[in-house]
Assembly symmetry: D3
Homo-oligomer: 125 residues x 6
Amino acid sequence: MYFVTVRDHIMVAHSLRGKVFGPAQRVHGATYIVDAEFRSESLDANNIVIDIGFASACLKEALQPLNYHNLDELPEFVDAVTTTEFLARHVHRKVAVRVAGVFAGTLKVTLLESHVAAAGYEAPV
Amino acid sequence: MYFVTVRDHIMVAHSLRGKVFGPAQRVHGATYIVDAEFRSESLDANNIVIDIGFASACLKEALQPLNYHNLDELPEFVDAVTTTEFLARHVHRKVAVRVAGVFAGTLKVTLLESHVAAAGYEAPV
Amino acid sequence: MYFVTVRDHIMVAHSLRGKVFGPAQRVHGATYIVDAEFRSESLDANNIVIDIGFASACLKEALQPLNYHNLDELPEFVDAVTTTEFLARHVHRKVAVRVAGVFAGTLKVTLLESHVAAAGYEAPV
Amino acid sequence: MYFVTVRDHIMVAHSLRGKVFGPAQRVHGATYIVDAEFRSESLDANNIVIDIGFASACLKEALQPLNYHNLDELPEFVDAVTTTEFLARHVHRKVAVRVAGVFAGTLKVTLLESHVAAAGYEAPV
Amino acid sequence: MYFVTVRDHIMVAHSLRGKVFGPAQRVHGATYIVDAEFRSESLDANNIVIDIGFASACLKEALQPLNYHNLDELPEFVDAVTTTEFLARHVHRKVAVRVAGVFAGTLKVTLLESHVAAAGYEAPV
Amino acid sequence: MYFVTVRDHIMVAHSLRGKVFGPAQRVHGATYIVDAEFRSESLDANNIVIDIGFASACLKEALQPLNYHNLDELPEFVDAVTTTEFLARHVHRKVAVRVAGVFAGTLKVTLLESHVAAAGYEAPV
């Protein structure tokens, strides 16, 4: 099993509906450092899982609509509780669309929300 | 597959019986930076694997009886060789007890003992 | 010259007035990982610059009123452009008040806003 | 499942044949920070997966023939496109030879080529 | 004293003339993770030392002519021993030119060449 | 001003006499990740502040007598409260002796005791 990982980040505001979230029910924010890991059983003719430049560009494009936004105000999140787990799955889907046809394997997206907490989502694409 | 990771640390002394350990047979010590990763196939109604605050508290409670101790003097470790691997499994069990009923899935505990070495234990809970 | 550094973090929302800030003029957010470094020419009778536990507590207290808030809505920031530099000075002042009488020397506060950008403020206290 | 990870690094030059690599077709270089993770279902009589000192030595030996070299000039890479993925598999094989008879399980080798990109290879040994 | 730091990286090959460099006399390479820290006694009307986006762009431009090159082949380094210290001063000068007129203060450039070694240069600009 | 930094680590046990230390009055331990930064106004004929290999060796030698020991049992620390600050000064002196005649400038020694706390000592040598 081979894998390639690229990193980018976003800076967003949001609030989380639900008593479990305590003070995070208020509008607050986060820097999410986002890792996208592409896993594959084999390499292509260029000895790569996926071109790192292309992978970085796909991740950046997937993150762009979120960056410097209040997620509470984005139409696609209107009914969502935008936890780190939820956002990881969201980014996963957006990256998956961009790499379709170029990459087949497992994609793991990790969002580091601080030096002491992270969450993520992993599934085949 | 979703996952959430929280981080804490302990500062302990111990010695390791066995020639393989060389100078680590002497009483020495370590800062273990401890990551607990909770993996689950699905999210709950709040879009979370486990509440990060609760997970952090469980990890801290699991670590507390070890923190600022000489492990050689703790009754529960009297016959144990307290390697990093062993301690990872120990912390795993202690965290598992605390999250029982709230979390079902895979728990991975990693102990970073320096910037160049780590060990861990991973199993369902 | 001796120094001690402690680390904590906050998760806040805000917006930045001024064309220079581009998309950061919108409400967005950040995780600020905050380092407080205390520098002193000498140690006290306990061989310390400042008790690390006390320093950590002072930093946490200084950060608490900001954590999980939209800074745009806090009365004390109503007329402020809450850049990372500005916030570093703000935290500096709040920590300085708490350590007064216990610590005399230079305090440096650094806010890491991502894995690729940081800002800070340093001055005697 | 238990695991142990050790870290080392190499500083090498190389060039990558293939249009996909863009400017990396030129002779350039990289510091690869290399993590070797050893995974095993059980511990030995010393409560370890593998002796960390031995694992570190095996990794260092595996890396030594590459360190401070231009990979384009090494006979064993004469026909190879020495991508990070390819090098991860190469190091994997070299480490596997050294730990044979001492360790049986899964070995994962990760090469971090910068603070924003990495690649690796994982397989049983 | 306020400061802002931005990070980027380059991947280069080179060789170092001089017996002191041992195996680094051969053509090898490095990933340099480059931090540029801008220090100033005061903030401008926007509450910033320097616009982080502008600072990042200046750093990227300063690094671009080096990135994915063999430094031994660049005309401007033909007689130079391109140690990390030397390269830090080189980047310092290139960044200084780009921020002239916008930033006045101290610029510190740090090149991390691995997880265990770094070098840098600091001077007013 | 130029600078070079090298990193190593030690794993030690100790206890701290004094009520201010709370639970750290018990025998416990720490991994200290140790950075030695050498600062100089100029470079030598090889374009270096100090040879990184030599600096690393000096740091390792300075740390060796402490590594894998209980500091409470070392004769030279018999009357000392071995705080992180104190140990930083100790390492500073030991490194200074080793680099005397080769390096003149400022030496800064930092001991990271966890991901959230550090201490150090800086002085001319």
